[in-house]
Symmetry: C2
Subunit: 201 residues, 2 copies
Amino acid sequence: MQAILMPRAADPALPARRRAQILDAARFCFAARGFQHATVEEICAEARVSPGALYRYFDAKADIVAAIALDARAAAEAMLDQLSAGDALVDALAEMARAFFAAFEGADSALLADIWAEAARDPALAKALATRDQAARDRLAGAIERAARAGSVYPALAPADAAETLLAALEGMALRRTLHASADSVARFRGLALHLLKPKR
Amino acid sequence: MQAILMPRAADPALPARRRAQILDAARFCFAARGFQHATVEEICAEARVSPGALYRYFDAKADIVAAIALDARAAAEAMLDQLSAGDALVDALAEMARAFFAAFEGADSALLADIWAEAARDPALAKALATRDQAARDRLAGAIERAARAGSVYPALAPADAAETLLAALEGMALRRTLHASADSVARFRGLALHLLKPKR
DNA sequence: ACCTGAACACCGTTCAAGT
DNA sequence: ACCTGAACACCGTTCAAGT
C-alpha cells in the first residue's frame, strides 16, 4: 500500500531525455519548415509524444524556441573560447565570423532574425541572451586586451568598445546576408577587424 | 441599362485612401500591443472596416506588416539624402545613427527584428528590402567617395566596402540595443565611422 | 464596385480520463 | 508519475449575400 501512495521514483533521467527528444524534434521541424511555420502538432509527431506530454516539459512553444535559439547562438559563440592564443587574433576572428555565418546559413537563416524578434518581446529570453552575450563580449575584450599588452595589436579603441563594435558588425553582416548572399562577408569582417585592431603585421 | 453593366467609376482615390486608413490603424495597433500580438480583428476595429474589406486591400496580414516595415526603414534611411554635403560626413553619419535608433525605439524595437524575420521567409519582401538597401548603400558610398575626392576624409576602405560595413554595424548596433539599452550606441557608431573614414580633422 | 459578418480552417493549449 | 487525445479558445482568411 505504501508502494502505491509513495511509488518508487521512476527513471530520474527521464525528464532530461524527454526534453532532449522534444528539442531534437523541434530543431528538425524548424529547419525543415521554418521557425513560426512549424506547428506543435508536427513537433509532437516527430518526437512521438502527445501534445499533453510536450506541455508537461515546456510551458509554451515560445520556450522551445528560446531554448533552441540559445543553443544555436551558444554553438556559434563557442568559437570565442579559442581566442585566447593572442598571436593571430585577426585570423581567429575571421574564423569566428565564418563559423557564425555558417551557423545561420540556408534553412537556419531565419533563425537568427527570429531570435532577435523573440527577444524583443520576451524579456526572459532577452535576459538569457544578454547574459550569454556579456560573457562573449568579455572574452573578446579580454583577448584584445591581452594581444594589445603583448604588443601584437594596436587597437584603435578601448578593448571593450572594439569588442562591442566587432560583435555588432558581425551580427549586422550575418543579417544582411539575407539580402545579398555575398560570399565576401568574412573578408569584409576581417578587413574591419584589421582596421580596428591594427595588428603588428 | 448600360449604366448598370458599366457603372461609372466610383471615387478613384478610394483604394489609396482605404489602404492608408488600414495602414494607420495597423501602425497604431502594432505600437500599442506589439507586432504579432495585434490581431486583424483589432486592426479592423481601429480602421472601422470589416475583415472582408481589409482583405480586399491586402492579401494577408503579413503584407500589412511588410508595408509598414518598408515605410519604417525608408523613413530612417531618408537621413542618407542629407549626406551630400561632404564637409561634416562623420557628424552627418552620427545623426543618421541617432535617427535610425530612434525609429526603432521602445514599442517599435521588435519591428526591426521582425522585418528581418519576415524578409528571411518572404522573398518578395526580401527583394523589396534589397532594392531599397542597395539605393541606401549607393548613396552612402557616393557621399564617402565625394568626401574622399574633396580630401576631407581618407577612408581606410573602398567607399563601397566602407558603406556596407557601416550599414552592417548600424544594423547590428540597433538590434543589440534590445539587450543592453546603451545610450552610447551613437557615440560608438561615430567612433567606428571616425576610424574607418579618418576625416581630416 | 464595394462592403458585411457569419462561417471555416488551423493551431496553441488544457484537462478529464487512463495506466 | 506520466501520458493520451479529444475538446477549447483564438485568430487569420474566405465567401455568400447585400447595397
